[in-house]
Structure formats: structure tokens, C-alpha cells
């Protein structure tokens, strides 16, 4: 009977080791993604250095599912730049182009107007009620780089959460991966 107990013991320990190594791998993936994210935040100065385009208002330049890299510097905003901004009371930031700038030297007050390249009208109707101009404080960053299609993964995962769980499961069983989102 001794050799059976031995086998059971070894199988048990194997399982724990496998599970542990899978857990560690998953932890590594998550922490690597976090490190890269935080490092990008430091390097770009923007609180969301990478954003996914969700609407077609900047077509044909940016399509839904494209990824934008944002940069936030001290440099003043100028007409023509593509900025990502937040509107009070709206959960999703907007990616549009600055078409008007009025800058005061003394007070440092800056008024901007934005518009989507594919839209007919400017963004006044998108701003908060009674707000005529976009303020620099609302801007999360300006778009400096662009990768097509890469954001579809995120869109699909957000809209069909089941795929996210399937993917996490797949990562888990495949062991090692370099896919980071």
C-alpha cells in the first residue's frame, strides 16, 4: 500500500505546482502590463497615454478601433492639433481637432474650439450646457502617434465581456504570453 500513497502524494504536489506556476504567470502578465502603463504615463505626462478611437467623427484619419498615443506637454495648444478632451458630465472622452484658439497673454486664459474632421458642425453642441469654449484643463493630451486596428481587441472585450474571460482562460492554459492590453 505504501507505493500508492507515494503516487498520490506526488500527483497532489504536481497539481499545486502547476496551479502555482500558472498563477505566477498570470500575475506576471498583469504586473508587466501595469508597469508598461505606468511608465508610459510618466514618459508622456498624460494620464491616459494610449486611447482607442470609438467613433467615426475623425474619419478618414482615425477610424473606430484605431489606437492613439497621447502626449501632454507644457507647450501651448495650437489650431490643427488633435486633442483628447473630457466634457463635464460625459463619461467618454472625445478625440477632435482644435480649429480655433484665443489666448490671453497676461491671465494665461485660453479658449479653444474643436471639431471632428468628418463632422459638419463644430463641437459647441457637445460641450457642457452654456459652455462656448474648450479649456486646457479639460484636455487629457494631444495625439502624436497612431496605430490602426489595434484597439479592436479592447472594443470587443468591452462590448462582449465573455471573450475577455475566454482570453484570460486561454492565457492561463497557454502558460507564457507576451500579449499585453
Amino acid at each position: 500500500m505504501g507505493w500508492i500513497a507515494e503516487h498520490v502524494e506526488s500527483i497532489k504536489s504536481m497539481k499545486i505546482r502547476d496551479t502555482l506556476s500558472q498563477l505566477i504567470t498570470l500575475g506576471m502578465i498583469v504586473s508587466t502590463a501595469l508597469i508598461i502603463w505606468k511608465a508610459l504615463m510618466c514618459l508622456t505626462g498624460s494620464e491616459s497615454p494610449v486611447v482607442v478611437v470609438l467613433s467615426g467623427s475623425m474619419e478618414p484619419g482615425f477610424k473606430r478601433g484605431d489606437i492613439l498615443f497621447l502626449h501632454m506637454s507644457e507647450a501651448p495648444f495650437r489650431a490643427g492639433e488633435i486633442v483628447v478632451y473630457n466634457v463635464e458630465g460625459k463619461p467618454i472622452p472625445i478625440v477632435h481637432r482644435v480649429i480655433e484658439v484665443h489666448e490671453q497673454e497676461n491671465s494665461g486664459k485660453v479658449d479653444m474650439l474643436t471639431k471632428g474632421d468628418a463632422n459638419h458642425a463644430d463641437d459647441r453642441s457637445l460641450y457642457a450646457y452654456g459652455q462656448n469654449w474648450l479649456k486646457p484643463q479639460q484636455i487629457m493630451g494631444r495625439a502624436v502617434g497612431f496605430v490602426p486596428y489595434a484597439g479592436w481587441v479592447t472594443i470587443i472585450m468591452t462590448e462582449k465581456p465573455i471573450i475577455k474571460y475566454m482570453l484570460v482562460g486561454a492565457l492561463d492554459s497557454a502558460g507564457e504570453t507576451y500579449l499585453l492590453f
Binding site: 492639433e81 507576451y178 500579449l179
Partner: protein, 167 residues
């Protein structure tokens, strides 16, 4: 270690790495393009002057835009966003930029153009400073790549003036 999942994962990872590398190289190759764009803008005439109820001046004008931006196109160029902005100083604002006209150019063949146009967007001041105002017209372009870094530059044309009197 040599399960199907492991191999599929390795192939996918390798493919994505190569793709990312190719994107990076394509974007980097844009740095070797030294463009020499040229442009000229003439104002044909001022069509009207309005004082809006809360005191802001508005001007309407017609301009001739001639430009050759073909040298900005590379194999990694998806489109060119071109716009003309009026830029001027007022006692209140150290800088005013008002976009008057813009266009998206998708192909190199269309990057050499001539157009006579009214201002597509309203030329409204923040205040009433537009009578007899000196201003610049600046042709800006933003090169949007198929992938990678975006480029922007401009040509400033100075010496324009809004007349004191309007019909």
C-alpha cells in the same frame, strides 16, 4: 510545453512582434523624406462685415489658395489635413487663431491644387477688433500616417488687412 495552445501562442506572439516592428520601421522611414511644399494665398475680396448682438465682429472673405504639397506624401502617408487659419493679435488676446477653410487630401495627385473659396468656417473675433485689422493667413498641414508618428508644419503668409469700411 509543446501543446497546441503553446504553439499557437508562440506563432501569434511572433507575428504581432514582426508586425509591430514593421510599423515602427515604416514610421521611422518618414524621417528620410525632406519635403519642399509651396503655397500662396490671395484675398480676392471681403464680402461682408457683421457685428453680432453681443459685440463680436464677423468678417466674410473670399480667397485664392494655390499649393503644391505633393512632396509631403510618402508611402506611409494616409492623408493630408490642410487648413488655412487667420492669425492675429488683439489688445485682449496675444494670439487668435481662427480656422477659415480646410480640406482632406487622400492622394498625392490631388496635393497640387488651386481653389477659390469663401471662408468655410465663420471668421468671428472675441470682441470687436476686426475693423482695419492686420492679420496673417497661415497654411497648416498635418500629415496623418498609415501608422506611426504624425507630422505637422505650416507656411505663414503675412501682410493682410481687413478694411476699415465695408459696404
Amino acid at each position: 510545453m509543446h501543446s497546441f495552445g503553446y504553439r499557437a501562442n508562440a506563432v501569434l506572439t511572433f507575428a504581432l512582434t514582426i508586425l509591430a516592428l514593421m510599423c515602427a520601421i515604416a514610421s521611422f522611414s518618414d524621417n528620410f523624406n525632406f519635403p519642399s511644399p509651396s503655397a500662396e494665398i490671395q484675398i480676392v475680396g471681403f464680402n461682408g462685415f457683421k457685428k453680432k448682438p453681443h459685440g463680436n465682429d464677423e468678417v466674410s472673405l473670399t480667397m485664392n489658395i494655390t499649393a503644391d504639397l505633393q512632396s509631403l506624401f510618402t508611402w506611409n502617408t494616409k492623408q493630408l489635413f490642410v487648413f488655412v487659419a487667420a492669425e492675429y493679435e488683439t489688445p485682449q488676446n496675444s494670439l487668435n487663431q481662427v480656422s477659415l477653410w480646410d480640406a482632406i487630401i487622400l492622394a498625392k495627385e490631388h496635393a497640387k491644387f488651386w481653389i477659390q473659396t469663401k471662408n468655410k468656417y465663420r471668421f468671428v473675433d472675441q470682441g470687436s477688433n476686426l475693423r482695419g485689422k492686420d492679420f496673417n493667413l497661415t497654411l497648416h498641414w498635418h500629415v496623418m500616417p498609415k501608422t506611426g508618428k504624425m507630422f505637422a508644419d505650416k507656411l505663414v503668409m503675412s501682410g493682410f488687412r481687413i478694411p476699415e469700411e465695408h459696404r
